[in-house]
Amino acid sequence: MENSNKRYWKGIEELTNEPSFVKNIHNEFGNMPSENDAKGEALVDGSGTHRRDFLKMLGFGVAAVSLAACEAPVKNTIPYLNKPEDVEPTIANWYASTYTDGGDYASILVKTREGRPIKIEGNTLSSVSKGALSGRAHASVLSLYDNEKLKGPQAAGKATDWKQLDAEFTAKLAAVAAKGGQIRIVSNTLLSPTTKKVIADFAAKYPTTQHISYDANPAYGLSAAHAGIIPSIDFSKAKTIVSVGADFLGSWIAPSEFSSQWAVTRRVSSEKGGKKDMSRHYQFETIMSMTGANADYRATYKPSQEGLVAVALYNAVAKLTGAAGIAGAAVKVEHLDKAAKDLVASKGASIIVAGSNDPEVQKIVAATNALVGAYGSTLNTAIPMNYRQGNDMAMANFIKEAGAGKIGAVIFYNANPVYNHPMGAALATALPKVEVSLATNERADETASLCQFIAPDSHFLESWNDAEPKAGFYSLTQPTISTIFKTRQAQSSFLTWAGLSGDFAAYLESNWENNILKGGKVAWNNALHNGVFEPNAGTVSASSPSVDINAAAAAIAKAYSATSTGLEITVYEKVGLGTGSQANNPWLQEFPEPVSKACWDNYAAISQPTATELKLKQGDLVKVSAKGYEVTLPILVQPGQAQGTIAIAIGYGRTKAGKSADGVGVNAYPFISEINGACVGTCTQGVSVTSTGETKDIAQTQTHQTVMARQAVVQETVLAEFAKNPLAGSYKPRVKTSEGEKDATDLSLWNGHEYNNHAWGMVIDLNTCTGCSACVISCSAENNVPVVGRQEVINRREMHWMRIDRYYSSDAEVEDLKGLEIASDNPEVVFQPMLCQHCNNAPCETVCPVLATTHSTEGLNQMTYNRCIGTRYCANNCPYKVRRFNWFRYFQTDDFDFHFNNDLGRMVINPDVTVRSRGVMEKCSMCVQRIQEGKLTAKKEKRRPVDGEIQVACAQSCPTNAITFGDMNDPASEISKLLLVEQEGRAYHVIEEINVKPNISYLKKVRNKDAKKA
């Protein structure tokens, strides 16, 4: 507390000192299982072993050891018969490819070992994604090895072969076509120009074919306001960013790309004459989104006011620019006028984005953007973004037609509208009326299981494909493994059904050579090598769409109300799980949501005052109903959410996705309403919440691993003060000694270490860390971090080596002790990545009785699993609580059914990292396997490693480059330069007062807020 004039807290239970919190605060790994045994929830554990069992085990163990000693099992080594020239066992190959999932896009590099993809990283050659990847893209490699995908084509629910399926399906299709029956191909956004050409070829053969695309979380309103296109957005040019409900850093359209642009404007330097200005970010929203958590100024509104907020913002801007205002009921939203003032002041470098899918709201926003000169700078209509092409009206129309029996045949091309469309239930009842139905979905999911045929598409890592994320920016997907199951990529299927050659690889190459590259084999090979081809670099258009704002305002006046008193539902997309397409991915299920820190569930999030009003508390199971649809959910109290609203995440409540997804949470898609012809994620009428009287724990990691009562954890300041003095808000701990007061870091019991070779270190910039947690998944993939499941997370035993601590701060004055106990309605938020700090005076090293954790000559705190006997003394003594204990054998036990208990799932394991067994401690190793590999490469080439050549998984995956890793002994390295500049500025160590001298430094957070009036 002494370091700051603020008080930080991670959860309301901490703030109010709830008994459960107080009991667990000193209990890092949760309760002994006996307590959970009573609930029947605990898994078997050592402490429950009885004496007889122990003797049995002992006897068996002795017998087993003596048997093992007699003869070692014969191990075989099986080489290739015909080794491909470019595959060398134990040496990784990297291939440039493209990740697409619906409209989500990233240009990627795929690391393969012995022919199997094991890790995905960003491709920095792409000027679109710039090497940024979302957690979902990182996790998609695990989805490749999902054993619950279809193993081959199916007809009428029975396995068939491709030849038969092709024959039967084309016969039926031809019959429909002969009658002139309507044929529909339903897909999510297709980024691939060549796939669209394939569909056109298919439509040429069956002329009644129409392609309908929709998106689970659509941006139809935005494209409707821009005459069918979405202009490309560039936050990096913005000085003022205003978001009306758009979670653009977390889940809106292309969050990773936007994050890297946003970070450019948020980076500051303590250097004399260094960059001391940053963009100002205003967020108006209903939920506490990750983007809102990163905003400088934030205010809330109810979903029923959303359109009017846009109108009010337009009017405020219009007033300042002298344009005519429009009619609209007044809504009171804090900071709105201030935002308008800043927008106008930074004209030409301002941007307003809105998350609403209502075309009328987007029209008003487009008009506001035109007023502040956004088009031509932050918005560019000359290069449209293709990420969301869904047409809500066409999709709704299709479902109505299907219900009326007007559709002859339908092909669901990797689309699951029965689950992820608000009218899914209607479609489910309509499907039997369609004569011929086929799905290319990878599994027999909610939609595919209702179709007559399933022709499973291959995973994107097994396929050829291309993408055009923005007009003129092309990207290629190449297979990095041959198909695991008897799947066939959908494009080949379409071509086969159209009576053409099913060789899509050749089709793709010829289309590229003739229409995209306009070059021969060399150009093709180059594009394939680079993964991207970007002939359209620089056209900018300042033209803004012409919209009838008065008509829009009139439509808004009808659909929205300034003074709604009832409860309202807002439906949102989570940063981790997204729309639920990868719901059967355990990495994503166990991904702690950046703001709520909850995993393995969705929940009804409400604000504290609303909870009090409804007499509900965290964990109460309630029935939420609206529009004749009812779900049962636990309550999660979310600081910062708008009063009178309930927020429910989509992506959950799958019923036919697989073991990890089925029955986890509830489906929130049916709550989505139709407003002005588009699917808008709100429900403002007739919402009721009733308590069931039961409770359900939410697996929430927010107050796990607290740093006890130590407070010098987060440091922050505001820009105005930082510009004057880089040390503003910094805290240098001092201690009193017999020789007077000294810096805490000047006193030490230890002699320290000398690093002659390398000194690895890391700097984490709290200013650019958005909390997106892509690093968490990247780390898990790189380091074989196991998934433990919902109950074990509740037992406080999650295994993530890297956690993103989210701190709320109270706005009450520090002296106001009473005020501090009340959770703030709209708290400020800080995200802090926390991992092993690799201390130079490491408290863990001194307490290990078997020297299993030691210090290296390169500054790493080493953890030796084969030496560890599991006393957990080190974890006890770790001030940062970053050590994790293997309570179970997570990789071979069927109790942990998260892909790692079968051979297929285990194919994702990184062979260079030991799979830890039960009973040992583990923690961040600073990707020592990558350090060793990088050093070896340098040694082989007889040189020193070059800065940037060795990258740890988290730093590599950070979309905003908030993490800088490198050799602090190398004066030319980025980290050395950064520390040199920030040493007398923003750099600090967490809990510096205990002087453990970490090798990880943090850079103080700077908010672009006005200085407090003294």
Binding site: L81, Q862, L936, K940
Partner: protein, 402 residues
């Protein structure tokens, strides 16, 4: 893929052998030539006049002009097609089996191969042994420590026997004195011995002594056995195909890297794939039943299940290239004299103690490697001994365990 650095040690060795008879530049050529020859030509050609798959190459530089050889190596088919008489005769002589073209070889490279062939015929190929890098001492050291223990035990045994004899003689003298006092007749020797033995057996000190000794020996045997668990030194399993390293690596001197393609490049040395066998055996000894097994494997698309000889536990990370390529170690440092093994066996214990011993004693191969320059400089400031692996963190846990 082959790596020139990889054979640095070997090259230096041939350099030393050849230095006496030929000029330095010539030897360097021959050294390069040796690498090239062993990696590319040795599968089909001998340096002597012995026919392997193709003709023996002894005196080839005299038989044909260099221009012709270059043309031939770059594209034999073209030379044959050009109607060259010598080429066509050769082609027909070897049953119309054309040589693999090597269009990437430069003329100096081809010349260096010829230089090597000539040099090999001047000084008959000396066995590559004799290079005794510092690391070579590791294995003998381990063995000698075992030997010391045995010597110690035998010594102790001898001392104990002497003590026993001394004690017995004292006992007999004492009993002699006592019986002499009583004036009885001396009992026969056998009876006396039996009585002594009885007395000895009744003595509790002796009993305890024997018990303690038995316990100690038993304990040692148990500990030795326990230490032996998981150590498979001398393990030489029968392989599905009776491949002889003695023949391939010993007699024909095929470079290890020719088959074990990863040994200088990656973590694993790699057991060769069947297509590498086929590089030669599509022509050589096709009728052999053992080689037929390879054909069968390829025809039936069933990979050959070799038995793994060297098994490191998964918790230990070992990288071949670090040791061979960077460290400059010979394969035999750890694997023993593979070229003399009919069936490969595990020569070293592969225990952590064995690794550590070597890391303690081995000098870092830092010469000419800029990675180590600063480290050597810092080390030499306050030390006179050369930089050892242990001085740069070679004993740290996370060098092998992560």
């Amino acid at each position: 893929m082959f790596c020139k650095k990889s054979t640095l040690v070997k090259s230096l060795l041939s350099f030393a052998i050849l230095f006496a008879s030929v000029s330095a530049t010539f030897a360097q050529d021959a050294a390069e030539g040796e690498t090239l020859f062993k990696n590319n030509c040795a599968a089909c050609h001998n340096t002597s006049d012995e026919v392997l798959v193709g003709p023996g190459l002894k005196g080839v530089s005299e038989r044909r002009p260099i221009e012709w050889i270059v043309k031939w190596v770059h594209n034999p088919q073209a030379v044959i097609a050009s109607g060259d008489k010598y080429a066509n005769d050769l082609y027909n002589k070897f049953n119309k089996a054309a040589m693999t073209p090597y269009p990437n070889f430069t003329e100096p490279q081809i010349k260096s191969i010829i230089a090597y062939i000539d040099a090999a015929n001047v000084a008959p190929a000396a066995p590559a042994a004799g290079a005794a890098p510092a690391a070579g001492t590791a294995a003998p050291a381990a063995q000698s420590s075992g030997g010391m223990l045995e010597v110690l035990l035998v010594g102790l045994l001898i001392i104990m026997v002497i003590v026993l004899i001394a004690l017995l003689s004292i006992v007999s003298t004492l009993s002699k004195i006592t019986t002499a006092g009583e004036g009885s007749i001396e009992a026969p020797l056998l009876q006396r011995l039996a009585e002594n033995a009885k007395a000895l057996a009744a003595n509790s000190a002796v009993k305890t002594g024997i018990l303690v000794l038995a316990l100690l020996l038993g304990g040692k045997a148990t500990i030795d056995a326990a230490y032996g668990v998981g150590i498979h030194q001398g393990y030489a399993p029968e392989q599905p195909i009776k491949f002889s390293h003695k023949l391939h690596a010993g007699q024909y001197q095929i470079n290890c890297n020719y088959c074990h393609t990863g040994v200088y490049a990656g973590k694993g040395a790699n057991v060769p794939s069947a297509n590498i066998c086929m590089n030669c055996h599509n022509a050589i000894k096709r009728e052999s039943p053992e080689i037929q097994k390879i054909y069968n494997a390829i025809e039936n698309n069933e990979p050959i299940q070799w038995v793994r000889v060297h098994n490191l536990p998964d918790l230990a990370y070992f990288n071949h290239s670090q040791h061979t390529n960077v460290g400059g170690l010979e394969c035999k440092n750890c694997h023993g004299e593979i070229e003399k093994m009919e069936v490969v066996e595990q020569r070293s214990s592969l225990t952590m103690g064995w690794c550590i011993d070597c890391h303690r004693e081995t000098d870092v191969n830092s010469k000419g490697n800029a990675y180590y320059d600063k480290l050597v400089e810092v080390h030499n400031k306050d030390s006179k001994t050369p930089l050892k692996v242990q001085n740069i963190g070679g004993l740290e846990c996370s060098k092998c365990h992560y």
